[in-house]
């Protein structure tokens, strides 16, 4: 198996979760109700934990220490999709992003737990249950809010419209796409995407929210190849502010 292909996949997985976990952690102490504040923080912690697990696999393949990789790269070295780096906005946007992202994430984890590449399979198998809760959380919220007040519906629908092009960017293909599929590492982005559409549709059908016509939405691509919105670099600078005071220090 081409190691570069595996590394590319691991970077995508790790960077997505690091950036989304970081974004979601910004809600801690600011949530709409105490109980939700707690639940959202747990999921943010899980995401950071998942990214650490994948950076650790990368380290085993010869990449730098997880801390170095996470805290010293610049935006153009990150492989996350652009959806996760967008600012939190109001709770409607954060929830919609959580819904769109985690419904894709669970499919990746399900596929990867069957992967021919054993180190990834093991990690995905172990962490799948955590993502299951994330999806349950997201879908329960969308079902509840998506059948509620007009105010909530307007907010959610507008966030959904705004987030969708970025969400489609989650499925941007890697240079090694066919290689990964052929080697049985996972079924590839096209497969993740079509299953994802089925699942989010099934949830949205139980609500008054409507998935915008996909043909009218141009996917926001580039994230997997280091092209990012203006929001990622400031996020990384903030995240590394203390770390960079002395990157060799033990904090």
């Amino acid at each position: 198996m081409n190691e570069l292909a595996i590394k590319d996949l691991l970077y995508k997985l790790a960077d997505d979760q690091l950036i989304l976990g970081h974004r979601n952690s910004e809600w801690t102490g600011f949530g709409p109700i105490l109980e939700e504040d707690i639940a959202f923080s747990s999921m943010a912690q899980d995401k950071i934990g998942h990214s650490l697990a994948f950076y650790t696999l990368l380290h085993e393949l010869g990449e730098a220490e997880p801390d170095t990789v996470a805290f010293t790269r610049n935006a153009n070295q990150f492989h996350n999709n652009q959806l996760v780096e967008l600012p939190n906005g109001e709770y409607d946007f954060s929830l919609i992003r959580h819904f769109l992202y985690d419904n894709a994430e669970i499919i990746r984890f399900e596929m990867l737990s069957q992967s021919s590449y054993e180190p990834i399979a093991k990690v995905a198998m172990k962490l799948k249950g955590e993502v299951k809760y994330h999806v349950l959380h997201a879908n329960t919220w969308i079902k509840n809010l998506g059948t509620s007040t007009e105010e909530a519906l307007i907010r959610l629908q507008s966030s959904l419209n705004e987030a969708l092009p970025y969400a489609l960017g989650m499925f941007e293909k890697s240079t090694y796409e066919q290689e990964l599929i052929n080697a049985g590492v996972y079924a590839g982005e096209e497969a993740v995407k079509s299953e994802w559409l089925k699942r989010i549709q099934a949830v949205l059908e139980k609500t008054e929210l409507r998935l915008p016509d996909l043909k009218s939405k141009e996917p926001k691509l580039g994230g997997r190849y280091g092209e990012h919105t203006e929001h990622l670099q400031p996020l990384l600078d903030e995240m590394a502010e203390v770390f960079k005071i002395d990157p060799t220090a033990e904090w």
Binding site: I38, Q45, E130, T140, N144
Partner: protein
Amino acid sequence: MLKSLDPRVTRLNLPDGEVPPMEEKPELDQFETYEAFHQKKDGAAHTYVGPVHAPNEDVAFLFAKEQYSRRFPCVGLWIARTENIQVTPYGNDGENVYDMLRIEETAEQIEQPEPYEIFHLKKRGKAHTHAGRVMATSYLNALQEAKQAFGEKSPIVNVWVVKSKDVLQSAEDDKDMWTTVPEKKYREAIAYKVMDKITKYKEERKNTPAQ
């Protein structure tokens, strides 16, 4: 705009300066409450862990899962709306509250029996624990049945009774949501061991001549 040491706060774009008082929160702004019971391991009785505020039992489950089972092993969670739980008076420690209650026989039983869950408190200040399930036609009848079935296990200072259909129970295949909890050591005291660093530091200081 308020500029804070916390970049998250700065991004909230809060007005800097005096603001009028906040209007009183309306009733139910924080929803109603649900009571949560967790199961530490397979076969163990579900034990009361505390309430959550939530709009319905599904959301209450999401909330209780993280508020009450993000640490320590857990294999299951039950949720019941507070309103649906009937509570006996409290007895003194050491007593059996069933002996103090006058649970009168209902003359005629018209209703079909249905299952009820019974929770006992053994000592004041501790947590209610699931004693078992009884078939009954009413809350009062459930208490009678419970007295027969589990009432001997003195002391029992308080009893909670709730219809089984009013208890949301996590499913067997939900267990995997908790499997990694014991591995999240970063939120446990045990992960932080600093004695070695302190000892090493003291050694180095001893060996450094005073300034």
